[in-house]
């Protein structure tokens, strides 16, 4: 069951925008830790079978990012030790670790995002804003690979008649130009057919609509409202300064005030939405299957 990926693309899109956006703009160690955990869980839920998690790469990246900051920034009051007379401070290290938690978690959110939001879905989301734009994208996706294929054909055709030389750079540049000229000529010529085909099917006969295979269901509405409410709550907390935390010169800010904990909880629920919907769906399926 891949219940989560079956939500309307708008819900999926807003979800990732919210969950990654909050992580990017709120520099709060606890919140970012929650984000990292949630993003890894979400990624594990959605990752394709063949795709490896590349844990080592991410651990390496994490270590490098965390160490770069204290090596180059020497602010902070708690000096741990000196390298070449430069102080390495606890605050800079803490900041580095927090920043790299942020980067890694956002990377994981984006990996899930790209696994879930296929080209079709993105097109659907943007098609809402402008049907013309989405048609343009769809046509570009069709014609760019076609041109690439065609230029390969032209190159092969010219080579097999002895007209494509690539012994030196100058010849291959000239050859490339000729391929390009031929491609342009051919594409303009053939473009007329496409234009006819569009017009023959009523393009330009009036206002277009935009067809999508996705329906906005009740459960999409509920999910969207939930996502927006949770996001608003966390944002409100941020605006109110509850989540403020500064590293320099000394760590300052109350990480576990009541309000802050409330905000973490909201964000935690937000990050765990994919897992929760997966579990409810799995239970539902188990129940339904027991009746088969």
């Amino acid at each position: 069951m891949t219940e989560y990926s079956e939500y309307n693309p708008i819900v999926t899109f807003v979800y990732f925008l919210a969950v990654a956006g909050l992580a990017m703009f709120i520099m709060n160690p606890v919140l970012l830790t929650v984000s990292l955990l949630g993003s890894v869980v979400c990624f594990c839920l959605k990752r394709n079978k063949g795709e490896k998690a590349n844990v080592l790469i991410f651990v390496g990246l994490f270590v490098v990012l965390a160490l770069i900051n204290p090596l180059f920034h020497h602010n902070g009051v708690t000096v741990l030790f000196l390298i070449n007379d430069n102080p390495i401070t606890l605050e800079a290290l803490a900041y580095g670790v927090t920043a790299s938690v942020m980067v890694i978690s956002v990377l994981f959110w984006f990996r899930s995002f790209s696994a879930l939001m296929t080209g079709d879905k993105l097109l659907y989301v943007f098609g809402r804003f402008s049907p013309k734009f989405s048609l343009m994208i769809s046509m570009a996706l069709r014609y760019i690979p076609l041109f690439a294929e065609r230029s390969k054909k032209i190159k092969d055709a010219r080579r097999a008649m002895g007209a494509y030389e690539e012994e030196n750079l100058w010849d291959s540049v000239k050859g490339g130009v000729k391929v390009f000229i031929s491609l342009t000529g051919q594409s303009l010529e053939k473009g007329i057919i496409t234009a006819d085909s569009m017009e023959a099917r009523g393009y330009g006969s009036g206002k277009r609509t935009f067809f999508s295979r996705y329906v906005f269901k009740k459960k999409d509405g509920i999910a969207l409202v939930l996502i927006l409410l949770l996001t608003a709550a966390v944002m409100a907390a941020k605006m109110a300064g509850v989540l403020d935390f500064s590293f320099y010169p000394a760590a300052e800010g109350e990480l576990f005030s009541v309000w802050a904990v409330g905000a973490y909880a909201c964000y935690g629920v937000l990050t765990l939405l994919p897992l929760m919907s997966e579990i409810t769906e799995r239970e539902k399926w188990r129940y339904l299957r027991s009746k088969i």
């Binding site: 055709a157 008649m161 010529e189 023959a200 099917r201 393009y203 935009f210």
Partner: protein
């Protein structure tokens, strides 16, 4: 109910000197299947496009075209787009979007229909056409035949009253073409859809069409019931070219009366009317040269490490001065074989020798200097200039090297030439490097019978000049007409090979229509001309 009523229609292209459509009047009623035939340039395409307002050519037009009683100029934009469906020749270029489902919806989006309606119509059409399994696919993944079916479905989804098809099967292989025509015939039969189709190879559609319209120089030569019209046209060599073999035979024998239309009628006609005391034509023996010009030995090729072999253990040889033909279905590996022989792809195992030398040992383009040249499937890929003259200058073409006079077209734009002329121009360009081995990838694709004859003549003359030729085709009739030897490629292997007559006589299905018609009655007859000859030898009528 009259779907189309055309009265005194005349049309001249803005830059043309002659009328492309000359005083044409006809009516087409609901549910009729009408085939338009005529050579390239007879005005079929122009007439069809005039019936569809959105893509009508620009020029001087007079006369009247009524669609269901109203002039087409007065129709609402959206009505006109939806009710008159049009499918063109080029499967690739008609497709607008990147996904199959989106292409199906494209026309309906243009009509401004809402999502629920589009969803219903698209899914209905997809299941009727059996394209559910590739509904989500990218258009790029489809074969040519599937693309053309998609084009048909994307027009049908708009629920047209009449379907106009402009040589829809010209770019398809014979099996895909038959499938496509069968689908159109089914639509016509099951939904009373009116069909007007133009075909320069009417043999594919004649058995399913109710009416035949013969066009010549923009005029209607004959229009009426298919069988009667065919009978009227027998004896007219121009029209006979593209007709089914049975009709051509009947016409060639100068007979009158009921004309057979397909293979089974033709067979009955031969058995009922002629004797078979002499079963074979005298054989002409031909010496095979000892010199090998192209040799494949256990060649293997695949497109990627983890992909299956496209060519497996392929072995064959071509001798000097031979016209050698590779036949086979779509995806059998014929074209890949040719690309390997042209050095455009490299085999991972086995040996390819060109003129006795391993193909790998030809360095830095020496393979293409006075040695091998290939004419690609899409000849337009060779064109780069604005006129035929420029094209020929680009390759320093010497007219005495090429047995066809291109000078009458010198000033024309390469893209304005007919398919056959483009093919000849391509051939001329390729010949400029003075190759001794010529490779041709489907040289007759999309051509009418007349152009095919022309190409066949040029190939024979080139052979006379000492060239060896290897070509790939789906077209058994063309192979039988020009090839000395044929080979059948199946799943990347040559499974049978032999001298052309013997090769086709041993095949049961993969052979010419005349051979299927005379099999077991006469032996080794492949072409209409040969059938005529043996019938005469047997005392004729």
């Amino acid at each position: 109910m009259e779907i189309f009523k055309v009265k005194d229609l005349n049309f001249k292209y803005a830059l043309g000197t002659e009328k492309a459509v000359n005083n044409v009047s006809f009516t087409v009623s609901r549910g009729e299947f009408v085939t338009m035939c005529g050579a390239t340039g007879s005005g079929k395409s122009t007439l069809l496009k005039l019936l569809k307002r959105e893509i009508s050519p620009v020029g001087d037009k007079s006369g009247e075209i009524l669609f269901m009683g109203h002039p087409i100029e007065d129709m609402e934009n959206r009505d006109s787009a939806a009710k008159i469906g049009f499918v063109m020749q080029d499967p690739e270029q008609q497709i607008v979007t990147d996904k199959v489902w989106h292409e199906l919806a494209f026309g309906l989006e243009n009509l401004g229909l809402d999502n629920a309606v589009i969803r219903r119509r698209v899914s209905e059409m997809a299941s009727y056409f059996g394209i559910e399994s590739w509904f989500e696919k990218s258009v790029r993944e489809l074969s040519g035949g599937q693309k053309q079916l998609l084009n048909l479905a994307s027009v049908m989804v708009m629920q047209p009253e009449v379907l106009l098809l402009d040589e829809p099967t010209a770019q398809l292989d014979p099996i895909a073409a038959a499938d496509f025509i069968a689908t159109v015939a089914k639509l016509n039969r099951e939904t009373a859809l009116t069909v007007i189709i133009s075909e320069h190879r009417p043999e594919n559609v004649i058995s399913v069409s109710d009416k035949l319209m013969a066009l010549d120089h923009g005029e209607i030569l004959a229009f009426g019931d298919t069988r009667e019209t065919v009978a009227k046209l027998t004896g007219n060599a121009r029209f006979m070219e593209g007709m089914p073999a049975a009709v051509r035979l009947f016409s060639g024998l100068n007979l009158k009366g009921a004309c057979p239309l397909d293979v089974s009628e033709g067979r009955r006609f031969i058995e009922d009317n002629f004797k078979n005391d002499i079963r074979e034509l005298p054989k002409k023996l031909r010496e095979r040269s000892e010199e090998k010009v192209l040799e494949f030995k256990n060649v293997n090729f695949r497109y990627g490490k983890d992909l299956p072999d496209v060519i497996r253990n392929m072995s064959f040889e071509v001798r000097k001065g031979e016209i050698f033909c590779l036949l086979g279905g779509n995806g059998s590996g014929k074209s890949t074989t040719l690309a390997l022989a042209a050095g455009l792809k490299q085999a991972y195992a086995g040996e390819i020798r060109v003129f006795g030398k391993k193909i790998r040992e030809y360095k830095a383009g020496s393979l293409y200097r006075g040695c091998v040249a290939m004419l690609p499937q899409d000849v337009q890929a060779l064109f780069i200039g604005d006129s035929v003259k420029e094209e020929l200058q680009e390759v320093k073409f010497k007219p005495d090297m090429f047995p066809f006079d291109l000078s009458p077209f010198a000033e024309r734009h390469p893209f304005d030439l007919s398919g056959g002329e483009q093919q000849l121009l391509g051939l001329a360009k390729v010949m400029a490097a003075e190759p001794r081995l010529l490779l041709l990838d489907e040289p007759t694709k999309g051509l009418d019978a007349y152009a095919k004859k022309e190409i066949a003549g040029v190939l024979r003359k080139l052979k006379g000049l000492g060239l060896s030729i290897v070509f790939v085709t789906h077209d058994t009739e063309f192979a039988a007409a020009v090839a000395d030897r044929c080979a059948l490629v199946f799943r990347g292997e040559v499974t049978s090979e032999g001298e052309t007559r013997q090769f086709f006589s041993e095949n049961n299905f993969y052979t010419t229509a005349v051979n299927r018609m005379t099999r077991g009655f006469y032996d080794g007859i492949l072409r209409v001309r040969e059938a005529e000859e043996i019938i005469h030898l047997n005392g004729g009528h």
